[in-house]
């Protein structure tokens, strides 16, 4: 499915505008913060959810 999504997006890119990140200054952009905080939050919630249950299971 991911590959299929990739194929669709490849098509969209082939018909769209390409931008380069190399020209941008190396400072965290709003998008960078959003992706970083989003990814970190997702992982930390997952770790908390699973490990709280694992530790609870070991105490029983």
């Amino acid at each position: 499915m991911t590959v299929m999504i990739g194929m669709i997006l490849m098509f969209l890119q082939a018909t769209g505008v390409t931008t380069g990140r190399a020209e941008e200054p190396l400072q965290m952009t709003t998008g960078g913060w959003v992706f970083m905080i989003g990814a970190w939050t997702f992982i930390l919630v997952l770790v908390y959810y699973t490990f709280s249950k694992v530790l609870r299971g070991d105490k029983k």
Partner: protein
């Protein structure tokens, strides 16, 4: 719980043959937390701290996380559950390795030989991995002892060269001889091998689980310490920007999606056979849905949060933003053993932080190598009726003998061949085989019920079609891409070169798809570097073939000598 009448699943924990408990005693995990940490230790390796951040930076930064997390949900976690399910299912019948596990999934004489790949692959993997792991131990000790070279007054480029020369001296590739190897490198390898053999000789709960309970918390603690130090450096946030700033143009690049799915596959240590072996020590009623998810989430924590905050930000702070791309492209080994030591050498208290950095890499390495060694251990114990100590000694002896050519012919691509076949290509082959066996030959319904058995959290229904259809398609695409991009050029001593005038940015959708699969926009040309090493590379392949043949022969021998007699002449039910 499975309906036995409908699905014909044997949930009886008693093996279907008279198992000799005096000869082979089944081990087990002391706690669920210990199991999760050991599994996470298996997954968390050098790639979490060195490969992931560079890959993310090269493939669109923050936007790389979109295909990365989608692959995590659609490939990583489902395949993780499949491997746990196969392992626990085989464990019910007293099998700790995939030859027996596969035979329980597919009653065919061929199945045990397909399963033998699950013993051979991790054995070949651990042979070269232990050697690389020994570099981290050696560098940790040398850093703490203040024996790393000084780079005072040197430019970043000079410092990189200095560290490169130091690494070459450590590896013994600059000794002026036709073969490589240094005394100090071999000493640290021997110590690393001894530690590995000592721990696995103590068994599952007393060795691997205890090591994971010590190693994983220390690894995380050390990574947090180094991460805080790195992010306090001037310019380090530029590195974070390099890793995380989204490049939305790359989100539409199919190669980025394949890179993300490949990273998820390798970072979770899927396809090695070690997850099945660890899971075989579970009880029938133990959960695998929650523990599999906990293992995966711990790996992601170490990779995305910790791994993403150290190497690239540190390198960017030291070398400057302009060098960020070159650093990301410099490769895992250069980043870990040249760039990072140079960064720490230039810091106040650099010896301490460098030592901590390499110690955390060592813990990441040893928890993985222990898991990779365990299938061979379990095979010798279960199938050839060896004692644990004797099996550990034999595994150690095999690693020691088999690694010698890797050390001696390091500069000729010998290690690279081991890495490609047992660390990449065969993992995909094995994962595809096990997925087809479990969900298509054993049966999708039975496989699904097996995974759900003992679940502590609900398993959403939509994962069933993902496991049955999406996962094998996913793996097949990565495999085909690997054959085209790496296997063919490697075997033919060639390399891919873009055709003049080819531009991905202006190509049509169809042309870009054709490009990825090698039919358009690029061609194979002679690779003089690979061709010059051809003899050594074929020697490495021959060594792996011999090793594989030995494992296959031992599998056949074990079945004829033990398994057949235990079942009155029948191989399977």
């Amino acid at each position: 719980m499975a309906n036995k009448d409908d699905n014909d699943i044997d949930l009886n924990p008693i093996p279907d043959f008279p198992y000799d408990k005096d000869v082979v005693e089944r081990e087990g995990w002391a706690s669920q937390l210990g199991l999760v940490l050991a599994m996470a230790g298996n997954a968390v390796g050098l790639g979490n701290f060195l490969r992931f951040p560079a890959l993310a930076a090269r493939n669109g930064g923050g936007t790389f996380m979109i295909p990365y997390f989608i692959s995590f949900l659609l490939l990583g976690i489902p395949l993780m559950w499949i491997e746990w399910g196969i392992g626990r299912h085989g464990g019910k019948y007293g099998y700790s390795t995939s030859p027996g596990m596969f035979e329980k999934l597919w009653a065919n004489p061929l199945s045990k030989y397909l399963g033998a790949l699950g013993v051979f692959i991790p054995l070949a993997f651990v042979i070269f991995y232990t050697y690389i792991e020994s570099w981290t131990l050696g560098y940790a000790v040398l850093s703490f002892a203040g024996q790393m070279p000084s780079i005072a007054g040197q430019s970043p480029d000079q410092a990189f060269t200095t560290m490169g020369d130091y690494l070459a001296a450590y590896q013994g590739t600059n000794n002026g001889l036709a073969w490589s190897g240094s005394v100090i490198g071999v000493i640290f390898f021997a110590i690393t091998l001894f530690l590995n053999i000592f721990v696995i000789s103590k068994g599952i709960a007393g060795g691997i689980e205890r090591m994971a309970k010590i190693g994983m918390p220390l690894l995380i603690l050390f990574a947090i310490i180094v991460g805080i130090r790195v992010l306090s450096l001037p310019g380090a946030m530029g590195g974070m920007a390099f890793v995380w700033n989204p490049d939305f143009s790359r989100i539409t690049d199919g190669a980025v999606w394949l890179a993300a799915s490949g990273q998820i596959f390798f970072t979770l240590s899927l396809g090695t056979g070690s997850i099945q072996t660890f899971a075989s020590y579970l009880k029938e009623t133990d959960d695998i849905v929650l523990t599999g998810l906990a293992t995966s989430s711990m790996n992601e924590f170490c990779e995305v949060i910790l791994g993403g905050s150290i190497a690239i930000p540190a390198a960017t702070a030291f070398y400057g933003a302009g060098a960020a791309t070159a650093i990301a492209n410099s490769g895992t080994f250069n980043l870990g053993f040249q760039t990072m030591p140079a960064v720490f050498s230039g810091l106040p208290g650099g010896a301490l932080f460098g030592g901590i950095w390499f110690t955390l890499l060592f813990f990441a390495g040893i928890t993985s190598s222990l898991a990779l060694a365990q299938p061979a251990m379990a095979f010798l114990q279960d199938e050839l009726r060896m004692t644990r100590q004797r099996a550990a000694l034999l595994v150690g002896a095999i690693i020691f003998v088999a690694v010698l050519p890797i050390i001696m012919f390091l500069q000729y691509g010998y290690l690279d061949e081991f890495d490609f076949w047992s660390g990449e290509f065969l993992l995909l082959v094995f994962a595809l085989i096990e997925t087809i066996l479990f969900f298509w030959i054993f049966g999708g319904r039975k496989a699904w019920d097996e995974i759900k058995q003992g679940q502590q959290i609900p398993l959403p229904r939509f994962f069933y079609p993902i496991m049955k259809y999406v996962v094998p398609i996913f793996i097949s695409l990565i495999l085909i891409k690997g054959i085209i991009d790496s296997l063919l050029p490697r075997l033919l001593s060639q390399k891919w070169v873009d055709l003049p005038g080819w531009s991905k940015a202006t190509a049509s959708f169809g042309d870009r798809v054709m490009y990825e699969f090698g039919f358009h926009g690029r061609e194979l040309v002679a690779n003089a570097d690979i061709a010059a090493q051809s003899g050594y590379r074929w020697a490495a392949r021959l060594e792996m073939i011999i090793l594989c043949a030995i494992v296959m022969a031992l599998t056949g021998y074990a079945w004829n000598k033990y398994r057949r007699s235990e079942r009155g002449g029948a191989h399977t039910q």
